[in-house]
């Protein structure tokens, strides 16, 4: 990339701009929150979709993919409609960090569900029954039998969610309010500087690129680790 076109010192200057540092920090914190919440909610949703039985399950299963199909700008507008001052529910989280987190949770919802679901489907129930017959409690069964089997899927799901969250633009552009040091995430910082300060935009882009590549490689690593017994 051309971010380093002016040499290291130049890159370092642009990258250590306090506004850029604040934007990157906020992005990483939000993405960490997205990872933590998705690990829990995604696993729970996958569990309910595989192990539970209720009317309308097929519909719920199809709805999970909605964030993949819905244009991100539409997601942004819908969230703003719900959480802006003139909204029916009276919760005003638009233009705050909570609003940003909700937008990112919306677009990353399918990742963990769709990685954990197939593993749960294939998981041998006999192992759990064996553990139960040996006197293990339900918590112990989940912790010692089910969880270790799900872990690689959960990890690769949250890695995908993390990669998506650090780069997301469309879903946050309307709801962020784009206040430097407060609600400006990395993608918005880059977008705002494409024409006025290309060097600054490129520097933060390179940082995002490096993080994305690291995440991509770690997903590959998780996949190899998970399938190490398969071949």
């Amino acid at each position: 990339m051309k971010g380093a076109g002016g040499g290291w010192a130049h890159f370092w200057d642009a990258a250590s701009n306090p506004e850029a540092v604040a934007a990157l920090k906020l992005t990483l914190w939000l993405s960490a929150g997205v990872v933590a919440i998705n690990a829990l909610s995604g696993t729970a949703i996958a569990w309910v979709l595989v192990r539970d039985r209720f009317a309308g399950k097929g519909l719920v299963n199809a709805l999970i993919d909605l964030p993949f199909a819905l244009p991100t700008i539409v997601a942004s507008l819908t969230l703003l409609a719900l959480y802006s001052p003139r909204s029916e529910i009276g919760k005003h989280v638009a233009y705050t960090r909570i609003g940003l987190l909700l937008a990112l949770l919306f677009v990353t919802l399918p990742f963990v569900v769709r990685t954990v679901q197939p593993v749960l489907l294939e998981l041998d129930r006999e192992m759990e029954e064996a553990a139960a017959s040996l006197g293990a409690g339900r918590l112990a069964i989940f912790r010692r039998v089910v969880f270790p089997n799900l872990l690689p899927a959960v990890l690769s799901g949250v890695a995908l969610a993390f990669a998506r969250a650090i780069g997301e633009f469309g879903a946050v552009v309307l709801i962020s309010g784009n206040r430097p040091f407060k609600t400006e995430v990395a993608s918005l910082y880059i977008f705002g500087r494409v024409n006025t300060d290309p060097a600054g935009a490129a520097a933060l882009s390179v940082e995002l690129l490096v993080i994305s590549l690291a995440v991509l490689l770690s997903i590959g690593g998780i996949r190899r680790w998970a399938t190490r017994h398969d071949r």
Binding site: D65, L70, S87, F191
Partner: protein, 266 residues
């Protein structure tokens, strides 16, 4: 039993709050005064032009990425060329890259001082840039769907066809293509969804000129944030959401029943 219900309502409640409530509200806002404002907003010439541009880009990007996806999948799985491992990893890059970074990269390559600056036709802030950005972000989907299926079906039937004297093209058309057709169809649907909805990369490189280089997603943002035309923004959003729901139905139809892998990204 209590735990089971708690988990069920917890999971469904989360879906309701994070996913369903916002989408339902946008439909409500659009149609709260009936069909007429929606229809008026949609038939506004700028909106019609934006829809047309979005459809044109999609109609070019999807076939190109489909052909590339099938060829690339075959190259990765069937021909163990030395660099294919790297290609396999690189194909995923658009999934992990911020759309804004994609747009910036295009500007650096085609803009003043870039490697491909000074082509005989205009790239940036016109149709080619929008197309390139859309193709870039929707590149991985067909490859990602085709590769695992190609691995799974193996080469037995293709080899049998070859020993019976079929040319490699006939083998591909009569054996390989029918075997991967559902994977291709699913990949095409995902590519289509992404092409119709791409916003970030396109907004960096398109120039966003109303009636010229404004796609439907850009129209939504422009109408809401700059024109204060809420009805226009909501109506165009509903149009995009309806396209998304149609896509969703196709996805549900084509998704392989047994395995719902999640790493198809968005």
């Amino acid at each position: 039993m209590i735990g089971r219900y708690l988990l069920r309502f917890g999971a469904l409640g989360y879906l309701g709050v994070v996913l369903l409530a916002p989408v339902a509200l946008i439909f409500w806002r659009t149609f709260e005064h009936g069909w007429h404002p929606f229809w008026a907003a949609i038939s506004n010439p700028d909106a019609v032009h934006a829809l047309k541009l979005t459809l044109e880009v999609t109609l070019i990007a999807v076939p190109l990425n489909t052909v590339f996806g099938i060829l690339c999948g075959l190259a990765i799985v069937r021909h163990r060329l030395p660099a294919m491992g790297l290609v396999n990893a690189l194909v995923d890059l658009p999934l992990a890259l911020s759309p804004v970074v994609v747009g910036l990269a295009l500007i650096l390559v085609y803009g003043p001082g870039g490697w491909l600056h000074g082509l005989p036709f205009k790239v940036l802030f016109s149709f080619p840039a929008i197309l390139l950005a859309t193709m870039f972000v929707s590149l991985p989907f067909v490859v990602r769907e085709v590769v695992p299926v190609l691995r799974e079906i193996g080469t037995d039937q293709e080899e049998a066809a070859a020993t019976l004297g079929a040319s490699s093209f006939a083998t591909f058309r009569r054996i390989t293509l029918p075997a991967i057709r559902w994977a291709v169809a699913y990949g095409v649907v995902l590519t289509m969804a992404r092409s119709l909805g791409e916003f970030g990369a396109v907004s960096v490189v398109s120039g966003n000129v109303v009636g010229h280089t404004q796609t439907l997603t850009l129209y939504v943002q422009d109408a809401y944030a700059n024109q204060f035309n809420e009805t226009g923004a909501y109506s165009a959003s509903v149009l995009l959401a309806l396209l998304a729901i149609a896509t969703l139905l196709l996805m549900t139809m084509f998704r392989p029943k047994e395995e719902t892998r999640g790493d198809r990204g968005a």
